[in-house]
Subunit: 374 residues, 2 copies
């Protein structure tokens, strides 16, 4: 069986390495040899680090992959959203199974891609798009049919959780960010992670699946961690709380409310104790009760692991699709009332007030540091 | 689609209730109406509590179900092990999909039942047999192909975890056991839970899957919680530890070692904080890293949830089977050395020694209270 990989950054390299490492087990399940026939990259001349570029089947032509009917399964792990969506759409339409971890490509076109896959009778899978290696999407695909899910949320961005964990140890901010870059925990442009956009995309995908309706990530009130400063960590410590970036979907009567917010959690809360690049997702359903999934959220091997579990489903199951038929609508009024710690720019200490998420966003726009108190 | 339920205790009733509650979602996925055509019980006259017996399609004839070719899917949730195995074997051979939560039926005949299902081309699924509602078996089915799993273990018996949680609050032993019976957490005959046999069966099933070899539950060194007394909880508290019943599979060089042992865990350990009827399973793999699954381990609805997620897989995936091809053997020499708290019957306090699991078992046979120190 011929496969292709679109993108050869950290995750693309992980896919390649896991295949090399687990070839016999994967081929045993597949019942045939597995061959990485093409790897799409932007720059054929770029140094590929541990890999010898000449030993890799690199190409800079997407069309070459699209037109190659011998390629049955494509791993899409690019970073560009709109281009990713376009490539996935074309490959599905051409009858190729697609396994993607590209949140930006999926979040904006969830049901359109589902329909394209359905029409072509192929798999479109994305286990690694929400919490890296944690098996979350596949179980949720079943859990959503059996439960009214009143809460789904937690820590789903590894980079910010690493940074918050380090900052809570009173390390200097510059040092923490520099280390995160060196370790590969943070990308050269950290905006997507630090401003909460990555977490916003992930909760948009999870909510789209569960609520069976397209959730536009731009409708989700989102505050990142860029404004949290030393004094905020000192405040949290004095309250026996820890600061985490929490993405959540909550049921409130007839509506669901979504948000991505810096949150001060009691030290005894299980989420408060998720350190480093670990992720944790909590779920409450009326039949299943409470469920918690924890594991490595990002990183080369764990993300590649999520993609390969999708591959195992592609080769031994029938394709399944999500439909846009949800009745309980998401509420974008941002009227949920919560307790917030609010600190005006350049001033200290902050104050605690019960306000709506909408008011909190307004104050954020005015330069306030905003932390929800959970 | 016609289904049957074998056994109408707590879990059987849960299966029936979840169908009533989620009928439209389940029928939507199934694409046809779902009908519980037969429910096998021992005593047709027994009071069925909240259910009116006359409204239920009860039968005491297994043959009636076996011979009814219109019944496609059977939920097997009896408590009898050998009879469960025999019924499952016959139903699979007759081409019926079987979904079982009967640990005692599965643990002794894992690969035989796999082969019977494979020969007949039907599903044999058992998601609810190991950790109730926690989605564990299905993800493990994929994770095992992609990892060398060096550790799998945790709290997988809800009854004993409830009892240990209550006892650690210094409640009197008799009161705790009486409450557990009233709440339905403990069965009338608590031996299977309290002596660790239920946990032993579950870890035997998980290890059989992962190691791809038949694990005989009788080969697993097992000590239950029946000997733990007030002074042991006082000792654990003084050491800032909590007592839990831990079932585990550990890789030690070329072998795997299994055990079910009362264990004193540091208060800060995530397993130490799993209270009441909750379960938690931890896993370490070389590719996926650390994973933790937590949720409600037993109980009517969460176990029924696990069985219905299997049903969703039966109706929309191809059957998959486990094979008996494992190369890294389980080691039953019990030579693993660990630190144990050992207390002679009637004496106090105990002492701490580094000994082998085999020596600990020997001392247990001589009446000692045994607690592994993790």
């Amino acid at each position: 069986m011929n496969i292709a990989i679109l993108g050869f950054g950290t995750v693309g390299q992980g896919i390649y390495r896991v295949l090399e490492d687990r070839r016999s087990a994967l081929e045993g399940q597949c019942g045939q040899e597995l061959c990485v026939k093409r790897i799409l990259v932007r720059d054929l001349q770029k140094d590929r680090g541990a890999f010898s570029a000449s030993s890799l089947p690199l190409t800079d032509s997407f069309k070459e992959i699209l037109d190659d009917d011998s390629i049955e399964v494509v791993f899409e792990v690019m970073s560009d959203g709109p281009q990713g969506t376009e490539y996935v759409r074309q490959m599905l339409a051409r009858g190729k199974h697609v396994i993607s971890a590209n949140k930006a490509a999926i979040a904006g076109a969830f049901f359109e891609l589902q329909e394209t896959a359905r029409a072509a009778g192929v798999h479109f899978r994305f286990e690694a798009a929400a919490a890296g290696g944690i098996p979350l999407i596949d179980p949720l695909g079943k859990i959503r049919h059996l439960n009214t899910i009143s809460y789904l949320g937690g820590i789903i961005n590894s980079s910010t959780n690493y940074i918050l964990s380090e900052l809570s140890l009173e390390k200097p901010r510059d040092e923490v960010f520099a280390e995160a870059l060196t370790l590969g925990v943070l990308e050269d442009d950290p905006t997507n992670d630090v401003e909460g956009y990555d977490a916003r995309r992930k909760i948009a995908i999870l909510a789209s699946m569960i609520l069976a309706q397209e959730i536009n990530e731009m409708d989700i009130p989102t505050i990142g961690i860029s404004r949290l400063s030393e004094e905020d960590f000192v405040w949290a410590g004095s309250e026996k709380r820890r600061l985490k970036l929490i993405a959540a979907m909550r049921q409130d009567d007839a509506f669901y409310q979504l948000s991505v917010l810096p949150t001060a959690l009691p030290e005894t809360d299980s989420l408060a104790n998720v350190g480093g690049i670990m992720n944790q997702v909590q779920l409450k359903g009326d039949i299943i009760g409470s469920l918690v999934f924890s594991g490595t959220g990002g990183g080369m091997l764990s993300t590649a692991h999520g993609l390969w579990t999708d591959f195992l489903d592609v080769i031994c199951s029938r394709p399944g699709y999500y439909s846009n038929v949800g009745k309980i609508k998401a509420d974008h009024s941002m009227e949920r009332i919560a307790e917030f710690y609010l600190r005006e720019a350049g001033k200290s200490p902050g104050e605690i007030k019960k306000i709506s998420v909408k008011e909190a966003l307004n104050l954020n726009n005015k330069g306030f540091t905003i932390i929800e108190i959970a």
